[in-house]
Amino acid sequence: MRTMRAIAVAGVALAAALGLSACGEEQQVTVYQQGKYKGKPDAQPWDSPQFGGKEAQWETEINRRALNQSEYSRTGRTGG
């Protein structure tokens, strides 16, 4: 009788130990990390025969072109 009780107590203790072993404090939230580009390097837009690496010249030309999209600046009118 005493042996049976000892086995039962040991069984309960073992079950409790196994059951609680999954209750750790492990971090469950994944930390997102942005990947780094792994492809081929690209040339800058101003690295062309037309601009010869002059970034300021390229930017001026692009902005001049962008302003052409406004009728008001093309025609000199302010609208209305």
Partner: protein
């Protein structure tokens, strides 16, 4: 430094699809791939609105975040591009993109999915500028020629504006002030700032 962006003025877009045609023609985009398309809301109903949509070259691009092979990169001028030699055509970017920009060419009898293709802001890709290789893989590199994207330059009503975000926002702001409406909408000040000197102040609710 310029930050390249598109704005589509829905009050001007007439759904002519000139931008779509210009893009297809300039970049020789294959059949079934649409780097740009025109979406119409309330089609056929008075007050319908159309908007031309393509890659918006997001400042915090979700396609870039989800790509398992990290084939996306952002140029100094803000244009988001990708390396087709690295792309595996998985389609994650398509699901991540809120604008449906990534396109996948279909080929073969079994619907084989090719490498991703999307709007490049006519800035080519990771090949030497204006070479045959660059054109074959990514299309025309107009930006390296000092030009703007073909779609924006071809737009007949100038609804679609492309270029440095500050410059095109100024153009759009001026239009709205001339129209006399639009600036009363919520978030306007955050998006476009207060009126600049010499421009008329917007009249809330006024008709153009």
């Amino acid at each position: 430094m310029a930050r390249m962006k598109f704005i589509c003025d829905v009050n001007r877009c007439i759904e002519c699809n000139g931008c779509v045609t210009a893009c297809k023609n300039a970049n020789e985009v294959p059949w079934g791939v649409n780097r740009r398309r025109v979406v119409t809301i309330n089609d056929g109903v008075p007050g319908e609105r159309s908007v031309s949509v393509a890659c918006m070259h997001c400042s915090d691009a979700p396609c870039m975040a989800v790509c398992p092979v990290d084939c996306f990169y952002r140029q100094e001028d803000g244009v988001v591009l990708h390396d087709k030699d690295l792309c595996i055509g998985c389609g994650y970017c398509f699901y991540a993109c809120p604008f449906g920009a990534p396109q996948f060419p279909q080929a073969g009898a079994f619907g084989l999915r090719g490498k991703m293709d999307k709007c490049t802001f006519c800035a080519g890709g990771p090949e030497a500028n204006n070479t045959a290789d660059e054109f074959r893989k990514y299309g025309e590199n107009r930006i390296a020629q000092g030009k703007l994207p073909a779609c924006a330059e071809m737009c007949s009503t100038k609804a679609l504006l492309g270029g440095d975000g500050d410059v095109i926002a100024d153009i759009y702001r001026q239009r709205v002030f001339v129209r006399g409406k639009g600036a009363e909408v919520w978030g306007w000040g955050t998006a476009y700032g207060p009126p600049k000197g010499g421009q008329p102040a917007p009249q809330p609710g006024a008709k153009s």
